[in-house]
Each structure stands twice: as C-alpha cells, then as structure tokens.
C-alpha cells in the first residue's frame, strides 16, 4: 500500500541566471551573518527543514515544509534580513516547488547551471553547505535524501556525459595540456616569464592543482632591482620563487613548463636556447607556451624532439572547441537529469508501508 507524504520541497534563490553581479552582491549573505540567518529560518512557521547555499554566484534556500507553507514568509524574511525591497528580490530571484527543486539541484550539483558550464567547484560548495546544515540539525529526512541523490546525480553526469570534458579557461586549458604531457600537474615545475593577467591566471590554475615549484621572472627585475616590481609580487602572492631575468635562460632545463607573457615585442627564446636546454633533459618533455604578441619564442623550436610549443591562437582554438563540445553535451545531460529528478520525486512522495 502506498501512502503520500504530507510535505513539499521548495526553493527560493538568486543566481547569475536572473541577477547581475551588483544584484547578487546585495542578495548574497556575508559569512558572519550565516548563524543569525539560520536562527531566523528556524523560527518561520511551517518550515520543517532548511539549507542555505551561499556562493559568489548564487544564494539559495532549500527547504521542506508542510503543504500549507507559503513562499511569501520566506521571501519576506530574506528581504528583511538583507534590507532589500521585496520587488527587487522578486525581480532577481526564482522559486521552485517539489520536483522542480529536485531538477534544479541536480543541475546545480552537476555544474550545468554554473556560469562556466561543467565546472566542478560547485559540487564542493554544495557538499559544504549540506554539511553545515546537518551540523546545525537543519536538514532532515527529506533534504538528506534530496542532497545525497544530488551528489549521486552530479557523479553520474560527470561520468556519463561530457559536460566537464575540456576546459574553457586559459589557465585550465594550459593545465589540461600539461596533464596530457606530464600526467600530474602538481609535479610540474613552472617558469613564468612576465607578470601579466595571463601569467597570473596560469599560476593560479597550476597552484590550484597542487603545483609547488612555481618561478617567476621578468625584465623589470633588471630595471629596478631595489624596488618592488610585478614579477616579485606575483611570486610572493603565490608562494613561488623569483628568478633574475638574466639567469633564466641558463636555468630553462630545470623547468617542465615555460610560459612567456611579456610585452617585449621581440623574441626572447630562440631555437639555440631550447636546443641547449634539451641536451640537458633529452628524454623529458618540455611544454612551452608563448602568450605574447608579438611572439617571444621562435616557432622553429617546435621541431625539436620532445618540445611542445603552443601560442595564444592554439590555446584559444582549444578553449573554443572545448566550449562547443561541452554545449552539445549539456542538452543531453539536462534531459537525463530531468528524468532522474522525476523518478526521485516519485520515490520521495510515496513510501511503502510494510504490513
């Protein structure tokens, strides 16, 4: 015999889908106010379970409540808490009910709803939010099941569809290429020549993958050795090493990945330099990235065995192709997740009574 549960799921949220950065900043909860917010949630009538997901791109409140529960009370609470005009909040937020909540959460955990489709960081953020709610005893039977299934759905989507395949961010594309050459990015020794945005994005991507041996060099070392300059600042920011620009050519054989990103307007590394370096590491590959325009690395070096040279055009082409292949997978993933969501909702609303 089947018995219907007298509880419903709901979601009130705001994300990059409906709100621009300025609006999201106003709605987002400061970290030091989370405790107070949770305390207030617990006092809303009819609200049995609740969970807050608060990231830079989304603020969402998931809950389980009696059928009689009204969204208005929650919207009112959030707008009062953040001192927002209720109309502003309704313009920049969305509401979901029951199986729509399941469907939405599946999309969030799998990265389909993320600004950079297929990114994996969101799963960790959702897990953290769920753990937080569990510790506060705010999540009960309904939310526990919902989120556990959400994590499973994320795993399924990443394993069985190509939504996370290929990287679209420059630093991530370079890390992916480094992985295809060396395996573990964390073992790669990176040398960055220059200190622009590309350099910073690359260092950040390598650092986030556990790379410890990061070295930065730049011409500004020689111009002003006594004052603080960008390469030194960059090295310090990411816990890397600074290398004198005059010495970097002599040390190139010590690095696995070399990125040049300078505005020097001339070739800094030629065929002879790389040939000389490779003699000291013949069987180890060398990954060169020339992110400068005009180029800093002579094109001919790609003819040397075990040298893989990429310029900005190559990296952009890969990023764009990755994006295309990912978009085609998103629709397939959305459909499959929606079917899983409906199935779960049916299971959640019907409990089997063993007589």
């Amino acid at each position: 015999m089947n018995q219907e549960i007298n509880q419903s799921l709901f979601l009130l949220g705001s994300s990059h889908q409906v709100a621009d950065l300025a609006a999201r900043e106003r709605i987002s909860l400061p970290p030091d106010s989370i405790d107070e917010f949770y305390n207030g949630l617990g006092k809303i009538e009819g609200l049995d379970e609740y969970l807050l997901l608060n990231t830079c791109n989304r603020t969402e409140i998931y809950g389980a409540a009696q059928k009689s529960f009204s969204f208005d009370s929650l919207g009112k609470y959030l707008s009062n808490f953040r001192k927002l005009d209720p109309d502003f909040l309704s313009q920049h937020s969305y509401q979901r009910n029951d199986h729509e909540v399941v469907d939405h959460l599946f999309k969030v955990t799998s990265g389909i709803d993320s600004q950079m489709v297929g990114e994996t960081e969101i799963l960790g953020q959702v897990k953290k939010a769920y753990e937080d709610a569990c510790q506060r005893k705010a999540a009960g039977k309904m939310l526990n099941r919902l989120f556990q299934k959400g994590f499973q759905a994320a795993k399924w989507a990443r394993t069985n569809t190509g939504i996370s395949r290929g990287q679209v961010n420059l630093g991530n594309v370079l890390c992916e290429l480094a992985r295809r050459i060396f395996g573990k990015v964390s073992n790669c020794r990176l040398l960055v020549v220059g200190a622009g945005e590309v350099a910073e994005s690359t260092i950040e991507a390598f650092k986030s993958r556990g790379s410890q041996a990061i070295t930065v060099t730049g011409r500004t070392f020689d111009w002003c050795p006594l004052c603080r300059n960008k390469p030194a600042e960059l090295a310090e920011k990411f816990g890397g090493f600074a290398l004198s620009f005059e010495q970097f050519k002599e040390s190139m054989h010590l690095f696995d990945v070399i990125l040049t990103s300078t505005a020097s307007g001339k070739s800094l590394v030629d065929y002879g330099d790389i040939k000389k370096s490779m003699k000291k590491r013949p069987s180890q590959p060398l990954f060169l990235i020339d992110a400068s325009v005009p180029r800093n690395i002579e094109e001919k070096v790609s003819q040397i065995e075990n040298v893989f040279l990429y310029n900005m055009d190559d990296v952009s082409t890969i990023a764009n192709e990755n994006l295309k292949s990912r978009i085609s997978e998103v629709d397939r993933c959305k459909g499959a997740l929606a079917r899983r969501a409906v199935k779960l909702w049916e299971q959640m609303t019907q409990t089997r009574e063993i007589s």
Partner: protein, 291 residues
C-alpha cells in the same frame, strides 16, 4: 560452435576481443549506455578464458606447447599480450590500453584463422613426433613467446605514444588524444616494457642456448641468426635509451618496427623436427666412421 574444438574457441575468443575493442571505443567516446562500463573488460576476460582453453586443447592434441605453425605462434603471442595486459590491469586502470590490445588480438587472431596455410595439421603426419620432449625447451619456447607478448604490448603503447604526440603537435582538440595517458607516462611505460621484454628474451635465449650446446643439430643456423639479431636489436635499443641517445618518437617508431620484424621472422625461428635433425646427423656420423 564446438567448445571442444580449438579453432572454434579461437574464433569466439577473437569475436569477444573484437566486441571489447568496439565497446571500449564507444565507451571512450562517452556513448550514454551504462552497461558499457564493464562490458569491454568482461569481453576481454571471457575471451582470454576461451583463448586459454583453445590453446590447452591444441596443446593436448599435439602433446606439447602449441607453437608448431604460424597460427599457433600468433595465437600464443596474442594470449601472452592479453595476459600481460590483465596483470597490468590489476595494478592500474588502463581501459584504453585494453581496447588497443583487444583490437590487435581480434585483428591478428581472426586474420590467422582466415588466411589459408597458417594452420597445417603437422601433428597428423605419420612421422610426427613430439617436438618438445625436453621440458627445458618447453620453458625456452614459452618464455620466448611471453617476451613476444610483452614486445607486442610495447608496440601498442608505442603506437599510443605516437597518437598522443601527433595530437599534441597538431595543437588542436583531439578526442582520442584526450583519453590517452600522458605522453611522459607512455614513454616510461614503453621503457619498462622494453626492459621486461629484454630480460625475458635473454632468459629464454640462455635456456635455449643450453639445449643448443648439447644438441646443435636441432637448431637451424637461420633460427640462430634471427634470434640473435632480434635480441641484439632490442638490447641495442635498450642501451641507447638507457644512455638517452634514443627517446621520444624515434624510440616509439623503432619499437614498432622491431616488433613487426619479430612477427615477420616468426616462421624462421621454428626448430627442426627429429627426422630433419637425424638426416643432418647421420652423414656426419658415417663420415666419422669412415675416417
């Protein structure tokens, strides 16, 4: 299909390897069908079990290690290849390598079954005598064929290296390349496989050499030359790589070429049978007697 017939079992095993190859590539390219997940490995394992039974039945039929004709030698090498892969698979998840191994085993296995004259029934000849009556020769032959299996795996990994290298040098998004292991890992794997293969081949030659010194009449000069040349070829590549004088794509290409030469020379490394050996011995003995 007769499950007590060696050739029938080889056909089925080949078919299973072929299915594993196909499913492995479908899985690699993320076709959304969950039964695909374990199907390629299951296909390889079932194929390997049937393959083992096929070789066992053939061994019973000929009263020895089945290495008497081209089909048997190729099938034994493919069996060694799959065995090596399955041992490695216990340590690492190497699904794509499994697909490559299954593909080679399917292609080469069925080819030897389709081509005429690869499987003469030499054991039915009235003068057929059990060739490997000496267990040391059995050991020599099986270790040698196992080393061929390792070298075939080396050739496959070298092929994967060249595919990955081409994908990286083309500087474009490459679907197959993104599923292959890192190029550095592939080169390390090639080096390790070469080392293992050279060690086994050396042991096999040492064991065979002991037999040769006692009964040189059983070993033709062609077999001796081909075996030594092959061993020298792999050993030279081994030392050149060890001293960093050959590496990267050249190392991979030479490994593939050496393997093709090894397979091509298989027909030449068969030992003489007793009758042929006797015919060579008798004139010598009679001349000795007359003198």
């Amino acid at each position: 299909m007769n499950f007590n017939d060696a050739r029938d079992l080889m056909w089925i095993a080949g078919g299973l390897y072929g299915s594993a190859f196909l499913l492995g590539f479908l899985k690699t390219f993320r076709l959304n069908w969950s039964p695909l997940n374990e199907a390629p490995l299951a296909g390889i394992i079932i194929g390997f079990l049937l393959h083992t039974r096929a070789l066992y039945l053939r061994g019973l039929e000929i009263h020895g290690c089945p290495l008497g004709n081209t089909l048997e030698r190729i099938q034994f090498i493919l069996w060694s290849l799959i065995l090596t892969f399955l041992i490695l698979r216990l340590l690492w998840r190497l699904d794509l390598l499994g697909s490559f191994c299954a593909g080679l085993s399917f292609g080469a296995g069925w080819l030897t079954l389709i081509l005429p004259n690869t499987d003469p029934m030499y054991w039915l000849a009235p003068d057929y005598q059990k060739l490997f009556s000496n267990p040391w020769i059995e050991l020599h032959a099986s270790i040698a064929i196992f080393s061929y299996g390792v070298f075939s795996l080396l050739a496959i990994v070298s092929g994967m290296y060249l595919i990955q290298r081409k994908a990286l040098l083309s500087r474009k998004f490459d679907k197959l390349g993104s599923f292959l292991p890192p190029i550095n890992d592939l080169e390390v794997a090639c080096w390790r496989l070469l080392s293992v293969g050279v060690i086994f081949l050396t042991i096999s030659i040492l064991v065979g050499g002991m037999h040769w010194t006692r009964h040189p009449e059983f070993v033709s000069s062609i077999k001796l030359a081909v075996t030594i040349l092959l061993w020298l070829g792999y050993s030279v590549v081994f030392f050149l790589h060890l001293t960093s004088r050959i590496y990267g794509s050249k190392f991979a290409k030479i490994s593939i070429i050496l393997f093709l030469l090894a397979i091509g020379s298989l027909a030449l490394v068969n030992s003489k049978n007793r009758e042929d050996a006797k015919q060579e011995i008798i004139p010598v003995k009679s001349s000795e007697l007359s003198s």
